[in-house]
């Protein structure tokens, strides 16, 4: 199946020249962007080159232990990223733990479902399939979880008087939080729904494009993309559900009180 065009480093350098043109424009127009632009470009080159080597090594090993280690590391990085995107985060271990645990559960569950149900490589944990699948599912789940947690904590803060009034009237914690949790679920799911409805008309999904460039028949690439999109939808829903309900649980206590004191002060 080696009918794709291999690029050499000369080709990469030629494309990189465009970034230099950008930097030149920035200097000419005094935008002050050139430094950040170049640093970002260099970072990308280093990160992707390293990942290329790591993946090459991982794919050659086909070891369940090392594949699992790489997968857990990916989730930990996603957890850090999701935490950084929140304005009001939970204080203490929960700030990192809630989003990370939700993503770990959702992305692992859905990836294993895909590996054993639809893609079925041999062995099922073959990193050549496991790692890219997890990466795509995790990336989208992270967007949903980060959005969901941010919207939950800021929503609970904004609506604290309303939530508190409901609690004072004897409503239970989940009933009192409902307006916030429902709005939050919608906010967190919408990017996933939008990307499904725009796929193929507004945007060509990256994975499908990649497969076509690699020489796969477009109809087969579409089937692959459909499976991936459904997996992403499932993973996002799962992760968002766990994060939002876990978060709503943490924002209230067993005596049905609103516990905004469990949030760290917002970053100024």
């Amino acid at each position: 199946m080696k009918d794709f065009i291999t690029l050499d480093y000369g080709d990469v350098a030629m494309a990189a020249a465009l970034v230099l043109i950008n930097a030149g424009l920035s200097i000419w127009l005094q935008l002050g962007l050139e430094r950040r632009l170049l640093i970002a470009a260099v970072r990308m080159v280093v990160q992707l080159s390293l990942i290329g080597l790591v993946l090459q090594w991982l794919f050659a090993l086909v070891s369940p232990l090392w594949t699992a280690t790489a997968a857990v590391l990916m989730v930990l990085f996603a957890g850090r990223e999701a935490m950084a995107r929140q304005e009001r985060r939970f204080s203490g271990w929960w700030g990192f733990g809630l989003g990370t645990t939700s993503m770990l559960m959702a992305s692992f569950l859905v990836t294993i479902f895909a590996l054993t149900g639809q893609v079925r490589p041999d062995p099922w944990y073959d990193p050549r399939y496991a790692i890219p699948l997890l990466g795509m599912i995790l990336g989208n789940t992270m967007t949903g979880v980060a959005l969901g947690l941010d919207s939950l904590t800021t929503g609970a803060w904004r609506e604290r008087v309303t939530i508190d009034s409901r609690l004072a009237l004897g409503h239970g914690r989940s009933e009192a939080m409902r307006s916030v949790t429902h709005g939050t679920m919608r906010t967190a799911m919408i990017p996933m729904v939008n990307s499904m409805s725009a796929a193929g008309i507004v945007s060509l999904p990256g994975m499908m494009t990649g497969q076509i460039l690699a020489g796969v028949d477009p109809v087969d690439a579409v089937k692959y993309q459909l499976v991936i999109s459904f997996l992403i939808a499932g993973g996002t829903a799962c992760g968002v559900l766990a994060a939002v309900f876990g978060g709503a649980w943490r924002l209230t206590d067993a005596r049905h009180r609103l516990r905004l004191d469990r949030l760290a002060p917002p970053r100024g």
């Binding site: 309303t162 609690l167 004897g170 009180r257």
Partner: protein, 202 residues
Amino acid sequence: METPLLTIRGLTRPGLEPVFLDLSDGEMITLSGPSGSGKTLFLRAIADLDPNNGDVQLDGLDRNAMPAPDWRRMVTYVPAEAGWWADRVDAHFTDWDIAAPLAMRLLLPAACGGWPVSRLSTGERQRLALARAFVQMPHVLLLDEPTSGLDPAATAAVEGVLREKVSDGIAVLLVTHDRAQARRLGGRHFRIEKGCVTEAAR
């Protein structure tokens, strides 16, 4: 000696010195004190809305023996500025048909049940929040400045309804800034200063 309706034993939280207080059924207690003295903290602690320590019992039944929502339906705190979660006014009431006559006695139009909440003035909201709590028939009402935003006529209407509910057997603990109101309502009067609750002359 009859057992009091509400017994508070050593109720404390940050900003509140331990409070010992009994409230009989049909009793009205007024509470006043400077801003930041802990009036709201005290009422919220009784309703168990914030973390706190101490024993609070209703009719000899400890609040920890029941789920907190059950406790708050019987011992209901009404904040000075309450929250509204639905668009229409009547969606906030367990039964608007029972609430409507009460709303009229509080000088609100009976039709206001169909209004959007955004149409209500501060004073209307305050009276409706009171009616919302009354409809659930609590045993004890913890009122945080229930007439702070009202004109004299509406204040008199609220006080009239309160007197009637008290004579029906509801116990009321009411925070007020207005000494004249404390005198009008009668009953025992307490002062709170720097989180310390003491009985005082009106």
